[in-house]
Amino acid sequence: MVTEPDGVRAVIGVTGQFSAVDNLLTGAENLRLMADLRHLGRRAGPRRVTELLERFDLTDAADKPLSRYSGGMRRRLDLAMTLVGDPRLIFLDEPTTGLDPRSRRIVWQIIGELVADGVTIFLTTHYLDEADQLADRVAVLDRGRVVAAGTPAELKRRIRGGHIELHFADPRALREAVGLIGTVPPDHEQLALHVPGDGTVASLRRLLDQLHAAHIEVEHLSIHTPDLDDVFFAVTGHPTTEPAKPSQEALAQ
């Protein structure tokens, strides 16, 4: 790293939180600039540009100046510029923050493809569902320290959590259910009851049998398995994002 800085620079790609694009050029010109700086040559360069424009759904906007790009298009272009040099290790700093659903889906899909190609991606995100979906290994950062690390499944196993949420049509049914199960205080406003569970089918069936036997009508229910949000709250010990920006680092390879 210290002795061969340019050797390192040649194999990595970095996409920061703020779009690193040339706002005075068009999308295609930005990509061409990257191709030239990566010394791709007269033939390979334009081909790579066309390919990336297509892959990132930017072909229609290729010749428009960036002042007419939306935030999502800009972010996609940003990532496309990172990929011009075919890096083997990519650092992505919150790649989907503030993105529209379409752009987010494209970015996720491309990250998946890159990982399938054997590229290592180092991704930081505040969206824990994103880390869950994309990462092989996750490190939870709190105030600059790694407070937990492992695969998403390992992290989820590490905490107790998961519950079944029952919703009732009227307060009477809720009262009866509380009398029957009664381990946690009910939510009277939502007419809901959170029943802790381990997420297995058997435990769910047991619960429903119990309610059925007591003739308690459940309006609808939802099952919550522990997600990385639960992990985050459990390992950081505070449920809200505090000034020392908590962040999740995810490594996909």
């Binding site: 340019d6 050797g7 040649a10 690193a20 050029l25 600039l33």
Partner: protein, 269 residues
């Protein structure tokens, strides 16, 4: 490819980038050309009659507006060079606030390429602006005596001087904390031609100012260009012009490179 070849291709890439910027947003170039043209018209048509009367050109004690035009054009050309150099500080400072510079830092790009692209881009811009100003001067009656070789030498001196001032301006643009500062700090450059032999003969200046005018770089450059274009005596001014230009260019190149390598792009937050 060797390191030098990469430096050259990367610099050429950056130059293309800066030329695209200039062509897409020509207002800065026009503004840089407008300033010296305005001064040319102002000095010739407003002050020219009076100032010309005070000139003893070619032994003729009573000059007129035309004689002053002949006298002032080399001065205006140094104003043009100074004015065009201002643009470099602005565009460098603006570029440093852009996210793309952060990206360049993460890539294996020849270190000097970003700055070289700016400097060569500004130099070409200066040549275009000089052509425009010379065109206006010819249109309002400037009649130089220079042969093609002398023209070439005069342009060469101006380009060399421009190269020096552009590196200075690039360094000032890097040193500035904001684009606003960057557009102000090189302003003194546009003042210096007035404190040289550009607009009035140095002999008419009061002591103190006269010594300053004699020893500052705009005077030898003006005198050399004036000598080449309108056949006045050059003397040792040609050596002074080249020495000043090379010296400023070298010092400011090293300064700018140091600032660029040390500085982080302005935090967008």
């Amino acid at each position: 490819m060797s390191g030098l070849a990469y430096t050259l291709t990367d610099s050429a890439t950056m130059l293309r980038r800066n030329l695209k910027h200039q062509l897409r947003y020509p207002s800065l170039t026009l503004m840089l050309a407008g300033f010296p043209i305005l001064f040319l018209l102002l000095f010739v048509y407003v002050f020219g009659g009076q100032l010309g009367a005070g000139l003893g050109v070619h032994g003729n004690p009573h000059g007129d507006r035309g004689a002053y035009l002949t006298y002032v054009v080399p001065g205006i050309l140094t104003v043009t060079v100074a004015s065009a150099a201002l643009g470099t500080a602005i565009s460098v400072a603006m570029d440093m606030t852009e996210g793309i510079i952060d990206r360049f830092r993460t890539m294996a790009i020849a270190r000097a390429a970003v700055l070289t692209g700016h400097v060569i881009g500004s130099l070409l811009q200066t040549v275009a602006v000089l052509a425009l100003v010379i065109g206006v001067a010819l249109a309002i009656g400037f009649r130089p005596t220079a042969n093609p070789l002398e023209w070439l030498a005069a342009i060469g001196i101006l380009v060399l001087f421009a190269f020096a001032l552009i590196w200075l301006s690039a360094a000032l643009g890097l040193a500035a904390r904001s684009v606003e500062t960057a557009s102000n700090t090189p302003m003194f450059l546009t003042l210096l031609p007035f404190l040289s032999s550009g607009f009035v003969p140095i002999a008419t200046l009061p002591a103190g100012l006269r010594q300053f005018a004699e020893y500052q770089p705009f005077t030898p450059v003006t005198q050399t260009v004036r000598g080449l274009l309108t056949d006045t005596s050059i003397g040792t001014h040609a050596i002074g012009a080249v020495a000043w230009s090379v010296g400023i260019a070298l010092v400011c190149y090293l300064w700018a490179l140091r600032l660029y390598n040390r500085r982080r792009a302005a935090d967008p937050k």
